[in-house]
Amino acid sequence: MVLKRGPRARAVEGAGARPGRGPDAQASLPLVAAKLAVHLLALLPLGLLAWKAGLVLRGIDIDALGPDPVAAIEHALGQWALRLLLLTLAVTPLRQLTGQPVLLRFRRMLGLYAFAYASLHFAAWLGLDLAGYWAMVFGEIAKRPYITVGFAAWLLLVPLALTSTRGWMRRLGRHWGRLHRLVYAVAVFAVLHFWWIVKSDYREPLLYACILALLLGWRLWTRLARRAPRRASA
């Protein structure tokens, strides 16, 4: 979530993007449509899950979520949190590769959806899975490494979500970018969280780990590449 431009450039962009104001407000109809589409796509897994949960709850189809609905709900929410997180991290490389700065307009939205799914995932664990065994919560978070990193990932997302507004961007200035580098740690923790729960078939978490390595590797590489010529000219 690091912007490569200074806070001033961001402030200008911010002002321009306010709905109904600024020069690009009229020209952004396709952008509004695209944003709407992303909203709908991001809400689709949740909607599907809620619909199936409704079928189970009302006894219309108690098998809609399989034999272990609690596990199915937890897994789906966690999976989408991770996917949306990686999508968020893919925005900057995609912008650089395609030269489409407009992609940045989707980053906060995707990040907030990742946070929403992660929060629901956490809530499902607390509310549906532990179901009454509240005394277990702290012990589990402290003792189980996979829960520890999962909880840490969610906890670190909280300040990022809270400071995702334009107001906080302005207030934090250049610190905003630094703070939002936490998302790299969040992504690593999230993949570890998945990795450590698997018993023997690591293919699925491995896929996510590879995607994350690619996304972080790209950042490292572009950073080094940018630094190298500067050093040569100095």
Partner: protein, 322 residues
């Protein structure tokens, strides 16, 4: 009548739990009636609360329980059977390719009558019986399943194990042709399990050939699987093709993969956590009610079979021999 023929009950006869629980009553009522299908009879019955008929003797022996049963649909679609894929629903989709007949079992090792025997011969003479057992998976969920089969001891005795037979090792089929999951090394195939001989001879140790009154579905380990209700589910090896009596503790699949996480004994024990997760409680998958909130219950020592099996481990440090 062979056990397998006894179990050849038509699909239509599979009934829901309520009716299943009342089967003895229904069969009694049917005795004087003209022959009609059990299914038809079942449909005519108004739904009634579970009326378990667990005799005190059965309950004492641990052979049955009046806890709500896990639905047939759930028992047969939520399976860990990595030979057919590592997803819970993979086996119910992929295991149809498993040919369960003809089926032979090779019995070898420290016994007087080793040999390769047909399944029918293996089971011959042993009285088919039903057991309603709790099944506790090491992953933290559990079921209550009505099995059909024979006591393991009755089968093992036929091969006359010698005094050197200290352990019994079991091997699953590992045929990549029939079992797509075997093409991926999630486990060091074939799947192997083992019991100490006194565990294997315990009256609760069971060889299942059916569940819910019908032949074992492929995804549940057809045609022959072990059921050891006081141990974590992975000890109850599926689709057995070899039984070997050994003097030394045999290697077991999960123990070889992660020795710190899965011991040879793997008795259900709420006081010994899996290194990565707690074993103090479990999510019970049973019945139809309240499926959106976990039916979380405390896990019991030896999965609630302590009265029957605790003496097998007297003097043993179960934290060390997990």
């Amino acid at each position: 009548m062979s056990l397998r023929r006894t179990l050849a009950i038509p699909e239509s006869a599979v009934t829901d739990e309520t009716v299943y629980r009342r089967r003895r009553e229904l069969l009694g009522a049917m005795a004087g009636m003209p022959l009609l299908s059990l299914a038809g009879c079942a449909e005519a019955e108004p739904p009634s609360p579970s009326t378990a008929r667990v005799t005190p003797a059965e309950a004492r022996a641990g052979f049955s329980t009046d806890e709500p049963l896990t639905r047939y649909e759930d028992v047969t679609s939520y399976n860990n059977f990595y030979e057919f894929g590592t997803g819970k629903s993979d086996p119910s989709r992929a295991a149809r390719t498993l040919r369960t007949s003809p089926w032979q079992v090779e019995v070898s090792g420290e016994c007087d009558r080793p040999g390769i025997v047909d399944l029918d011969d293996l089971l011959r003479g042993a009285a088919p019986t039903e057991r309603i057992y709790r099944l506790r998976c090491v992953e933290g969920w559990s079921m209550v399943i009505p099995w059909l089969g024979v006591p393991l001891a009755d089968v093992l005795r036929k091969f006359a194990p010698t005094s050197r037979a200290k352990y019994v090792a079991f091997t699953s089929l590992a045929d990549p042709e029939q079992m797509p999951g075997v093409r991926f090394r999630s486990i060091d195939w074939p799947y192997r399990e083992g019991l100490r001989i006194d565990e294997a001879m315990h009256p609760l140790a069971f060889l299942a050939t059916g569940l819910y009154g019908k032949p074992l579905p492929q995804q549940n380990g057809a045609p022959l699987r072990l059921v050891v209700p006081w141990k974590y589910g992975f000890k109850s090896i599926k689709s057995i093709v070899a039984i070997r009596f050994t003097e030394r503790m045999p290697p077991t699949a999960w123990n070889r993969l992660q020795p710190r996480e899965y011991g040879f004994y793997s008795n259900v024990n709420p006081d010994v956590d899996h290194p990565r997760w707690s074993q103090k409680t479990e999510r019970r998958i049973a019945g139809t009610a309240n499926r959106l909130v976990a039916d979380r219950i405390p896990t019991r020592m030896f999965n609630g079979y302590g009265d029957q099996v605790a003496s097998l481990y007297s003097g043993m440090d179960l934290k060390k021999w997990y």
